[in-house]
Symmetry: C2
Amino acid sequence: MSTDLAATLDLDTVQDRIETVLADFLRRSPAGIPSQKGGVGELTHALADFVLAPGKRIRPLLCVLGWHAAGGGDGEESLWRVAASLEVFHAFALIHDDIIDSSPTRRGRPSMHRAFAARHRTRPDADAFGVHAAILLGDLALVCSDALMNSAGLSKRQRRTVLPLVDAMRGEVLLGQHLDLLATGRPTGDVDEAMAITRLKTAKYTIERPLHLGAALAGADRDLLAMCSAYALPLGEAFQLRDDLLGVFGDPALTGKPVLEDLRSGKATVLMALAIRRVTPEQRRTLDALVGRADLGEEDAVRIRRILQHTGARDTVESMIIERYERALAALDTDLLAPPIAAALRKIAARAVIRTA
Amino acid sequence: MSTDLAATLDLDTVQDRIETVLADFLRRSPAGIPSQKGGVGELTHALADFVLAPGKRIRPLLCVLGWHAAGGGDGEESLWRVAASLEVFHAFALIHDDIIDSSPTRRGRPSMHRAFAARHRTRPDADAFGVHAAILLGDLALVCSDALMNSAGLSKRQRRTVLPLVDAMRGEVLLGQHLDLLATGRPTGDVDEAMAITRLKTAKYTIERPLHLGAALAGADRDLLAMCSAYALPLGEAFQLRDDLLGVFGDPALTGKPVLEDLRSGKATVLMALAIRRVTPEQRRTLDALVGRADLGEEDAVRIRRILQHTGARDTVESMIIERYERALAALDTDLLAPPIAAALRKIAARAVIRTA
């Protein structure tokens, strides 16, 4: 039994199945959109290309693991559709986020607004057109994630427990993005505020809610959901803190994002907040002069990185990641979880925290 | 019985009930968003203000009428929530549409991206910030329309018939907006293309789908749905054709939109397509030089309006509206509808077609 479960929970196998569900859904006509007519195909094809590009699929994986953690049961078909819909929802979030952050690239390819602008570059308004088409594409992704969820064939009990979690997850991530938007461009030393954004945008959205969703589908009780939170929240914070470090110190060839982007936009990260609390007046003047400048260059970045290191902010963030990672792992030491599930959740935790992209 | 139904179907009474459902939902915390914390209240309050501003509520009204047309039944509470969710969805569509069209106003007030920019005008990036916050606000509206739909307590039968209609409606309107976006800025004489956009963006989205949704909630059969389409599609086309005329010839004090907007953006309307097919070479040069210019002034507009009139395009569109309006009314002459319902649908038709705003 336990060996069977271990085979079932092989992450590559789970991920393959998610890819199949996504491809089947997106290559037909999602949300009843005929995919042949006029300019229509452009949106549906762009969405399929975007979603089916290689990704970590961390949210669907966690949803599947949450389901098994709660004992699984009948209705596995519903599980796969709900899990896949999280990935389509995430496509929505990324497409709009890239517009808001003016990100030129995503996963090493042009971001969607840039891709649309390039494809329509003969238009005099190509750049604005690209943004506007990408707004619609993000909207379509959100609508398609609903269509996938709506077609999951949930039972009445499942609907009552799962849909409020879906609604809350969506509200939270939008809220987190709004707080992020308000804070971007003028980072302060407010570590608590930066951490609050991290919690909403990432810890709950990326880790806790997907795990809860899967668990709730299988009828998880309160204790199991609390255990999931004890694992998910510190892990989610660690995940975002790693992102923040990669955004400044990462290798753009691996992250697929220009390394100067977070600095140019003036992201209010925990990393930056910690540094700001510890700078000398002279370092503060340097940060104020450089962070948030759209024309910030590599030499400026070197100066900022030096400050992030000399103030110890970088090391502190690394320690915070390790501390949270260990807390997440400790939450898995419980009788509530079958050993193969705990093992799979440990693997996910390592992937989330120890990475270069 | 028939008198009771007539009282039930009084459009003002129906609309009051819709306002109440909307206000109750939006003034609590939609989608589980706490409405007190930090910058959070800004989004939820903006959404409530936007949705609760006076509006025609044509989509919820049609949904309610569709339900009665199919005989109503138990579960009226579900009906009101579904009907209200159409209005919240429409808020999403309008907020993103105003960004895409760069509309400065909506219903006589600043559009949402302008309102956010004004509220944050001390930011150096106030204009971009306004657009980005409005993208998130539109997203929140879409998420909230789902939360409202998810809380409607639909039965399994209702879910199976209604949700695919919701998904299709959403896909269609996005598709229509994408085709509109592709065509805007370079209007041609392609009347068919302009009419195809009209059908997707308005005829199906504004009239047919809301009516079908309500009817399907009450278990409508195929014949009734076909009758609804026979009324809805011509009426929806007439509604959009009226909008196109108001966009060029309307009184901005009544429409709440600057009258030059459609001309400045170069909207590919049926009106414009008809004119382009009939212009003299000299008139064509005038249109090419003026339509789509962001700095187009009132004198230019006068010249364009003169061409729209001299070519007979304006009169043709008026005739098309009347012909479609009559076709919609003729569809109501059927035994399938109780007389008070047919009467209410006639009133809606008149409101949609004979209006100044």
